[in-house]
Symmetry: C2
Subunit: 229 residues, 2 copies
Amino acid sequence: MASEPIPIVGGTGALGAGLATRWAQAGAPVVLGSRSAERAAEAAAKLREKVPGAQVEGLLNEEAARAAGIVFLTVPFRAQSENLNNLREALRPGQILVDCTVPLAAAVSGKATRSLGVWQGSAAQQAQEMVPEGVPVVAALHTIGAPTLADPDAKLDEDILVCGDRKADKARVARLIELIPGLRAVNAGSLEMARIVEQLTPMLISVNVRYKAHAGIRLTGLPEDDHWS
Amino acid sequence: MASEPIPIVGGTGALGAGLATRWAQAGAPVVLGSRSAERAAEAAAKLREKVPGAQVEGLLNEEAARAAGIVFLTVPFRAQSENLNNLREALRPGQILVDCTVPLAAAVSGKATRSLGVWQGSAAQQAQEMVPEGVPVVAALHTIGAPTLADPDAKLDEDILVCGDRKADKARVARLIELIPGLRAVNAGSLEMARIVEQLTPMLISVNVRYKAHAGIRLTGLPEDDHWS
């Protein structure tokens, strides 16, 4: 697992680039996917500058998605369906797709403090409907702020709520999340719980505006031991 | 404010009794409301036993609701509408109603890890529609567990997300919440944000089952200073 790269579809966007920064800092190899091979290569070069020694490659999204068993999708909601359509030929049964999409009303020029209703219940459930048979979707990383991730000096101190229908899949994703210091992955339940977890983002955005802050979520009162093993 | 009691409509229920325990411990006078005067008196006697020196009175809900300017409604979703109907004659313009209702699917014999869609968007917005003109609704205290509150030895360590349309109203409610050691009141935005905050409870219930825990919510990354003043 340690040597398998982490492919990020939408890796040139704010969340994708932020995650890539942290994984690169942690010594994990990363593949940045983009719709444009040029932009992917540029983003990879930028990351190597930012994090000396970063193991990073820039590829087309579809190529990035073939690079490893766990693929992160970090595009805005507006682009989620299009990206999932494009990934249909790339994803193979047994891969896991980690959907980080938040259905902010901003996708249709509404407010970032409001959300859209997704027919399936959540963006993650929409993703589950669109991926090829045999590709489980895990939902995670909705509540972490891209600016905080992208600032290599900012200290992280928050939980990542992970939703999915199989604990084994969530555990594999949790291991990747917890490569990033300051993040703890919490098992937030089945994929349908993404209906709730995705909603935290507009609430946090409103808190951030009000407090001029970069707020994150922590769950208190959980046992200290590693529950993923 | 310090001498004005805290009326709790539904004060004999789990959440109401738990809050009453904590406020009594903090030296705040409490009025427990119930549909039955006998049960209200019994609950008050029980609280006096549990917290020696507790200033507590048991009254009918409608009488309790007249006891002070800020009234807490802590009944299950199933009983929310009925209680609000009964309070129509009791509440007066200028009072604040603090709605703590969570629309769990358990209200219709569904799961406590799922929620019901409320036409108005949230139970709190339903409450706002039902209270007399001039009574603002503030939504709070959805995510705190009744068992933790009721155990006087359990240490609290969590945030209470407070939603409402006027900051001044939320600040008054926040002062009462923060009488309880271990709780911090966070301004989570306008009343419509209750759509999101109420949803946290089914998610936490599912986490509690999975982790055999009493989880609470904390927002990290907020400034330390008191932002309510």
